[in-house]
Point group: C2
Chain length 533, copies 2
C-alpha cells in the first residue's frame, strides 16, 4: 500500500490476499476481470498505421464513425462519405421544425413543441452494451433512464376482458401468484416427491409464499399480500380517510385465455433489463457525440453509386447531392457500412461469396409513430409515467416519454412501433397522414383521451427511408450458417461493417462492435500486406 493511489492491480490483489484471505482475493479477481464476459475490450487500441495509408469509409452512422475515430487515432488518413447532411444514419431524432421526405415523395414537417421528439430508429441502450456506453461516456453523451417496464401501464388485447386494457401490475402479479399457488398444491400433494428432497420442498413452499404473494395457506387470492403487488381497490391513506381495501385478482383461466401473459416477461429479456438508457434529449445525442470527433472527416450529401477496387486501391463514385455532380474518392482501403438493402443495389467489385452474402440478408420492415397531444393525459389521468403499454393491435406498443415527468405542456409519445411483416409493409404503403390517423384510431382503444387530445403526428416507415430501404438486417439460422462469415471477410481491399455484420442486429452495439472488429482485422491485414511487400 506504500504507493498509495498508484498501487498496481497486482499489488492490490496481493494486499487483499494477505489481509482478507483467499476468498476475498478470488472475488476481487473475478470482479476486476468481469469485462471478460463482454466481447468489448475497453483497452481497444490499434497500433501505428503504416505512414500515408488511407481508408475510405462509406456511411457516417455509428459504425462508420467508430471506425473513423479509431483508424484516425492509429494514424490512417480517413475520409467518410455520407448520404445525409447530418451524421448518425439510423441513429436519428426528429423534432419540431424538422422535415423528412420519404421514397414516393411525401414530405412530413414535424410540428412538435420544443422538447418533444421521435427516435425513428434505436431508442434504448442496455447496460451490457459496453461498447456504445464506453463511447457515450468518452464523448460526453449524457444518459438518462429508459423505462422499459411500467407496472401501471397497460397490457391490452382486443380479444380479452371485453377489450378493456389491464394494468401490467395486475397481469404480472396474478400470473405469478396463480403459478405459485398451483406449484404449491403439487408439492403439498406429493407430485414432486421424486424431484425434490423434503427439505427443498419446504424451502420452495416458503419461497413461493414470498415470491408469489401467497397467503399462509399458499393461496393467491384477495388479500393484503396480493394487493401489495397488484394494487389496492382503495389505497391506504392518512388520518381518518377510508381504510384501504384489497383488490380482487383476475380469474386464472381468463388470464391464460387472454394471452396477456405474453407481455409480462419483456423486461426480463437481457436487452430490456434495468438499467437501460436513453440519451438526454434524443438518440441523436449519440450521433452528435461521435460527429464531434470526426466531423472534419465527413463529406455530407454524398450518395455512393459505385464501389471499385484494384490491386492499387479503392475508387468510390458518388453523387454530390448539393451540386448534382458525380465525383470520385480514392483510398488504399475501404470500410463499407451501408445497409445491405442499399449496398445490394450498388455496383460493387467483390467476390462471389461476399456478393451472395449481401443478397442473402433482407431488411426488416418497421414503422414508428410520434404523436403529440395537448397534454400528458397518461400522467395526469392515469399515473403512467414513462414505459410501454402493449397491445395486440398492429401498433403493438404505446411508449410514454421518459423525460420531463409531470410537465404541464404538450406531450409527445411513441404512438406505435410496428416490427416486421405484414403490418410493417401495410403501414409503409399508406401515406404518412393515413398512418398517423390509424395510430390515433387504434391508440384510442387503449386511451380514449386520444380522440380529444390529439394534436399532430409523424410516422416513419423504414422501407421508404431513402438511405436505408428498411430498418435492419434479418438473419436466419440458415443464412447465418451459409453467409455470415463470407459477409464479414475482407474482400481484397474492402471490408463491411454495421449492425448487419454482427450478432446484435438492429442494435447500435452490434454496429460498433462490428466496426471495431472490421477495423482491427483490416489494420492487421494492412500491416501484414506491408510486411509481405
Amino acid at each position: 500500500m506504500q504507493q498509495g493511489e498508484h498501487i498496481t492491480r497486482r499489488e492490490l490483489l496481493g494486499w487483499i490476499g494477505k489481509t482478507a484471505g483467499a476468498a476475498a482475493m478470488y472475488r476481487a479477481m473475478t470482479s476486476l476481470s468481469l469485462a471478460a464476459e463482454s466481447t468489448f475490450d475497453a483497452s481497444y487500441q490499434l497500433s501505428q498505421a503504416p505512414k500515408g495509408s488511407s481508408i475510405l469509409i462509406l456511411g457516417a452512422g455509428v459504425a462508420g464513425m467508430t471506425a473513423a475515430y479509431e483508424l484516425r487515432k492509429a494514424g490512417y488518413k480517413v475520409r467518410i462519405l455520407e448520404y445525409n447532411n447530418r451524421a448518425g444514419g439510423r441513429c436519428w431524432t426528429i423534432r419540431g421544425g424538422d422535415t423528412f421526405t420519404e421514397l414516393g415523395g411525401a414530405t412530413q414537417h414535424c410540428q412538435f413543441e420544443d422538447g418533444g421528439y421521435l427516435n425513428p430508429g434505436p431508442w434504448r441502450i442496455p447496460y451490457h452494451h459496453r461498447a456504445i456506453l464506453h463511447y457515450c461516456h468518452k464523448f460526453g453523451v449524457k444518459l438518462e433512464g429508459f423505462v422499459q417496464v411500467n407496472y401501471n401501464a397497460y397490457v391490452h388485447s382486443t380479444q380479452a376482458f371485453g377489450g378493456k386494457p389491464q394494468r401490467y401490475r395486475a397481469i404480472q402479479s396474478d400470473y405469478q401468484g396463480h403459478v405459485g399457488e398451483l406449484l404449491s398444491k403439487c408439492i403439498q400433494q406429493g407430485a414432486l416427491d421424486q424431484e425434490l428432497t423434503s427439505e427443498d420442498a419446504q424451502r420452495l413452499l416458503e419461497s413461493l409464499r414470498d415470491w408469489g404473494a401467497l397467503d399462509k395457506n399458499q393461496q393467491y387470492k384477495r388479500s393484503l399480500e396480493s394487493s401489495l403487488r397488484r394494487g389496492f381497490a382503495v389505497h391506504p391513506g392518512g388520518g381518518l380517510m377510508p381504510e384501504r381495501e384489497p383488490s380482487e385478482p383476475l380469474d386464472f383461466s381468463a388470464l391464460l385465455e387472454s394471452q396477456l401473459w405474453r407481455s409480462i416477461a419483456q423486461g426480463q429479456m437481457d436487452d430490456h433489463q434495468t438499467q437501460i438508457f436513453q440519451p438526454v434529449g434524443g438518440m441523436d445525442g449519440v450521433a452528435k457525440g461521435f460527429e464531434r470527433q470526426v466531423k472534419d472527416l465527413i463529406t455530407y450529401q454524398a450518395k455512393v453509386t459505385r464501389i471499385q477496387q484494384s490491386d492499387q486501391g479503392v475508387t468510390v463514385t458518388y453523387d454530390d447531392l448539393s451540386s448534382g455532380q458525380s465525383q470520385t474518392a480514392q483510398a488504399d482501403y475501404c470500410i463499407c457500412t451501408l445497409p445491405l438493402s442499399i449496398l445490394s443495389q450498388i455496383p460493387l467489385d467483390a467476390g462471389g461469396p461476399m456478393q451472395a452474402a449481401i443478397r442473402a440478408v433482407p431488411s426488416n420492415a418497421a414503422v414508428k409513430f410520434g404523436l403529440q397531444f395537448k397534454r400528458r393525459f397518461w400522467e395526469q389521468d392515469e399515473a403512467i409515467y414513462g414505459g410501454i403499454s402493449y397491445t395486440d393491435l398492429p401498433i403493438r406498443n404505446i411508449a410514454y416519454p421518459n423525460y420531463d415527468f409531470g410537465s404541464s405542456g404538450k406531450g409527445v409519445l411513441l404512438g406505435g412501433y410496428i416490427w416486421g411483416a405484414p403490418n410493417g409493409f401495410e403501414f409503409t404503403s399508406m401515406t404518412p397522414a393515413q398512418r398517423v390517423a390509424k395510430a390515433v384510431e387504434m391508440g384510442a382503444k387503449i386511451h380514449p383521451q386520444y380522440l380529444q387530445e390529439f394534436d399532430n403526428g409523424i410516422a416513419v416507415g423504414w422501407h421508404r427511408v431513402p438511405w436505408s430501404h428498411g430498418c435492419c438486417g434479418v438473419w436466419t439460422q440458415e443464412s447465418r450458417a451459409a453467409h455470415y462469415n463470407n459477409l464479414c471477410q475482407i474482400d481484397g481491399r474492402i471490408v463491411l461493417a454495421g449492425e448487419h455484420a454482427s450478432y446484435l442486429n438492429a442494435w447500435q452495439e452490434g454496429a460498433i462492435l462490428s466496426a471495431l472488429d472490421a477495423s482491427k482485422r483490416l489494420h492487421q491485414h494492412i500491416l501484414a500486406s506491408k510486411e509481405a511487400a
Copy 2:
C-alpha cells in the same frame, strides 16, 4: 364538439358514445375516474375560512408545510414553528460542506464532492403516491427515475455460494425458470388434472415456456432461451468476434438453500414498482419546493417545549435556539406534526386517549451511510448503473447513484440502509467513524474495490437525530386497533398529522395525506364551531 378545446367531460363522453360505441364510453369513464383508486383528491380545496381565524402548525416537514399551504389558501392566519434552520424535517439531503451534530455531540462534516449526496430519510417516490407527485408537479420539483431493480446488481449471502455475490439477473431468471420447469412437469404428469381444464393446461404450458425461458421440452437449462435472461457466458459480438456462448444456470437446490430468492420480488412490491422517482439533486428538492410556498410563515430554530390549550385557544412555548430565549406563540387552533418520539416528551394538554396513543407508537431505528469513492468502480468495473445490491450483512443494501451515469469523477453511493432492531441500535450506538468503517468493511465483501477506492463517508443513526429521535412511527395490528383513531381525532383545539398518523408510515405520501385529512377535518370543525357559537 362545437366548443372545441372547452368541451366538457359530459360532452366528451356523449361524443365518444355516439361515435365509438358503448365499450369505448365505458373505458373512457373508467379511465377518467381512475383517480378514485387513490385516496388523494387532486381537486382538494378548503372553503373560505372564518375571518381572522388562526392556526399554529408545529413542524415544517412536508406534513406541516402541506397543511400551511392549504390552510393559508383558505384564508387562515398560519404560522409554523420549526426546530431546524431549514424546512423539510426528515425530507433531508446532506451534501459536501454540510455539518450535522447528533445526540451525544458527535459532529460530522460532509466532504462529498459537488453533486454527490446522501438522503438520510426518504429517497424514493412511487408513481401511485399521487399527493406528493401532485405537489411536486405544482411546485416545480424536477423528478428523475429511481432505479429500484438493477438486473446486473448483486444479491449476496455470506452463507451461500462461498460468499460470492450473484447477479440479480441470474437468481431472478433461475428461480423463475426452475419454477416453470417444475410446474410443467406436474401438468404433464397429470397432477393438476383436477385444477385445470385440458385447454387451460395447454395454455399454461405454452405460457410457462415464454415466461420461464424454457426450451421446447419445457426444461430450464443452459440454452439460448435461458441466456437471453440470465446473460451469456460470452456475449454476442460483431464481425468475426468469438461466437456467443450460453451460460450455465445455478443448481435449484443450491439456489433454494441460498435464500437469495428473498431479494428478487422487491421490485414487484407496489411501493417499489416502476415508475418510481427521486427529485433531481436530492430529496430536499421536495422540501425546498414546499418551502418556496410557505417560507414567510416559518419561524426557524424554534424548539417546542410545551403545548397548552384552553377554550380560548392554543399557546405553544418554544426555545428560540438562536437567542436561547423562551418564547410563546398563540393561535385559535394547532396542527402538530412533531414525530411522536418528540411529542411524547413534551407537556401537552390533551385527553387521555390521545396521550395514550402518542405513547403507543415507538419509533423505528434506522441508519443510512453515504460513502464517497475515488471513482465509480461499480459502473466502470462491473457495469452496475444505479439500483440496489442486497446482502444478508447488517448493511442490507448498497444503492448506487441514479444520476450522472458514466461520470468520470468521484462517486457517492448509499453504503447501507439498516432498518429496525437489532442492527439499527447496534450501529446507532457507535461513533460515526466506527459506523462508516463497519460499512466499508462489510461492503468490501461485495465490492473488493472498496478497500482501495474509499474516500470518505458519513452515517446518520436516526435515534441520534435531535429533532426526531428515530426514523418513523411503528404500528402493529394491535396498536392500530387500540389507538389509531384516538391519535387522529381532534382533541379540543389540537389535531395531529404526519406519517405516524397515516397508513403509509415512513412515506412522505402518508405525511401529506394525513395533513390534508387533518386540515380538512379541523376546517370543518372550525366552521361548525363558528356556526354553533
